[in-house]
Symmetry: C2
Subunit: 362 residues, 2 copies
């Protein structure tokens, strides 16, 4: 476990290798994660999301430089789920490193989509842990919006910055309602373009409309403890998110944060100090309210769920008789059997297999 110790000491090569080891997801990976886990929980995790073309990556670069100028150690995790097949992630590392090369206070890592459902979220969460444990005070997670990846970033980050750019067409259309729910800070980038003021004004207006109590919930937690009962909130609308003694009932009380809108021109570095300040303000808010503990708890619960789902599927796949699966899939493809019934038969079969083995043992 020398690798883990070297990573904890901040050795860059060790950090890189440790992230790779964890991505590869062997037994080593779990042991390493257990070892670093006690050292996590210190970093401020800042999510940055926005559509392609908003200048997100340049903004991340400038933010990292500004944090460095303030003598803070910065990790950057660039998640690029649009590029599952190409080697884009590796190229990305090189392009990004340009301005920050040689500075040991910055660590940049790009991640491409893993094949499995939720696999990317898991790998990202694990990479955050490594950087957190290695002493990076700020970990920036950059994802391409919109869609599911934005909801996931909201669950992963302490502070979510949504990057918008003017001239993306109809402002009201471009600024989707869901964005308001996940953004803590808006950066209207490319602010020298025509329409920047209009975009910023549209955002402010939507934020004003949004400050009604009913829309102030943002929790997307799925397993919730409610009066000592385990509840799966997953299948209900988020409005009904349960709160109880173990999940501080701060959803409506502490969600008094009104997202800050900052205009930036990342290419020139304009607006970056204001953006840094907005992020710091939000951090302050998290710490003085119950929100930080609440978000951490949601994050860890989601993470546990991802792990459990993967683990359960792995176990099932090991138990399934391949010939049964082939036969069921053929029936499904031929419309003789629907997928739900096929799933039930597979689950029944895997249990039967286990029980038979067990009685054979006895």
């Amino acid at each position: 476990m020398e690798l883990v110790e070297a990573a904890l000491a901040g050795n860059r090569r060790a950090i890189a290798r440790l992230i790779t080891r964890i991505e590869n997801d062997g037994d080593d990976a779990h042991a390493s994660l257990s070892q670093i886990y006690p050292y996590t929980g210190q970093a401020h995790i800042v999510g940055i999301t926005g559509a392609p073309g908003t200048g997100k990556s340049t903004l991340v670069n400038e933010l990292a430089k500004a944090f460095r100028a303030a003598n803070r150690q910065v990790g950057v995790i660039a998640v690029d789920p649009t590029s599952p097949f190409s080697g884009g992630a590796i190229l990305g590392d090189r392009v990004r490193m340009r301005d920050l090369a040689g500075d040991s206070g910055v660590f940049v890592r790009s991640m491409a989509t893993r094949g499995s459902l939720g696999g990317l979220a898991r790998a990202t969460a694990d990479a955050i842990k490594v950087l957190d444990a290695a002493g990076f005070e700020v970990v920036i997670v950059e994802t391409v919006g919109a869609g599911q990846s934005e909801v996931e970033i909201a669950e992963t980050a302490h502070t979510v910055v949504v990057v918008e750019a003017p001239g993306m067409g109809d402002e009201v259309q471009a600024i989707k309602a869901g964005i308001l729910e996940i953004a803590d800070v808006f950066a209207v980038n490319k602010a020298d373009r025509e329409g920047a003021d209009r975009t910023a004004a549209a955002l402010e207006m939507m934020l004003d409309l949004d400050q009604t109590p009913s829309s102030q919930t943002r929790s997307a937690s799925r397993i919730v403890i409610h009066h000592g009962q385990l509840m799966e909130v997953a299948q209900h609308p988020p409005h009904s998110t349960a709160t109880g003694p173990d999940v501080p009932n701060d959803v409506s009380a502490s969600r008094r944060w009104r997202p800050i809108v900052v205009k930036t021109i990342a290419l020139r570095g304009d607006g970056i100090p204001e953006l840094i300040q907005a992020i710091a303000d939000h951090r302050q808010y998290l710490e003085t309210s119950n929100e930080l503990a609440h978000r951490n708890r949601i994050r860890l619960t989601n993470e546990l769920e991802h792990i459990l789902r993967d683990e359960l599927m792995d176990q099932l796949l090991k138990k399934i008789d391949p010939s049964i699966l082939v036969s069921l899939m053929t029936q499904v493809a031929d419309r003789e059997l629907d997928p739900y019934t096929a799933a039930r038969q597979l689950l029944k079969n895997s249990y039967k297999g286990k029980r038979q083995r067990r009685s054979g043992d006895a």
Copy 2:
């Protein structure tokens, strides 16, 4: 099961109620799905995706009108994963229906994000089944790109149309590498804007570069049968996608389709006939190659996996002792226990619980 029969007969209210019933996911839902499933497999499923502001919804509206003019029944499923909390989906229905109201050959349904992982993908797949079984010849599934939702649409649709708009900034940045892998047709919408020709040219250039053998794979299937062996491809890069006797090895042989780039101005209806033709050409290609059967198989395999994962998680949650979960989550939050170890303990505990109950029964 009168509802199912009425829906199969094409009754609009029955279709709407059946989709709602299935979304609510009770025992009724599964019974209904089993009943309609034999009638599915006829529709051409067309996925339309693109960033906010590209004019995607207008384009979908125009496409639906054009299909209607050609006397084809059209279902539209508008998936809006950016709006998990707001009532956006309902408003969407009303706005969209405007041009098509009163036409019983069109059915529009908006879906908002469900809470659960993969829940939206499942609900969308089920809504497609209902429309397919009810006799809609074309089912358009509209999603907001980019990210995971685009990968999912590629797994769900027969033909994927990616909508781009000029003026979204740097063309090469805006056109992400992953997009090339999922697009069968590109619509460069808002083609009257400056830069439309440049965007179209950039796409054509990237498509030329992309026509190398190594990038011709697009399969994202996860459970694959290889020489009679069940393989989980999930955790390996998609390049290693296994093929075998049950999954026709047509990945390199049949992936000779070169995406078509069409310029459109949806607001004026310009380019819509060309877009319809491109979609028809792709359908023809699917039918004359092995690709249609291959895509259907991938789709159903993914669907089965979604169902299995949800079902396994449901079963686990029923078995877990809430007090154990509370205690584990507290240890995780306090950094005394890492999430992976917590997951293992939960799984071990749930088995122990079952075994104890069983030996108690004996």
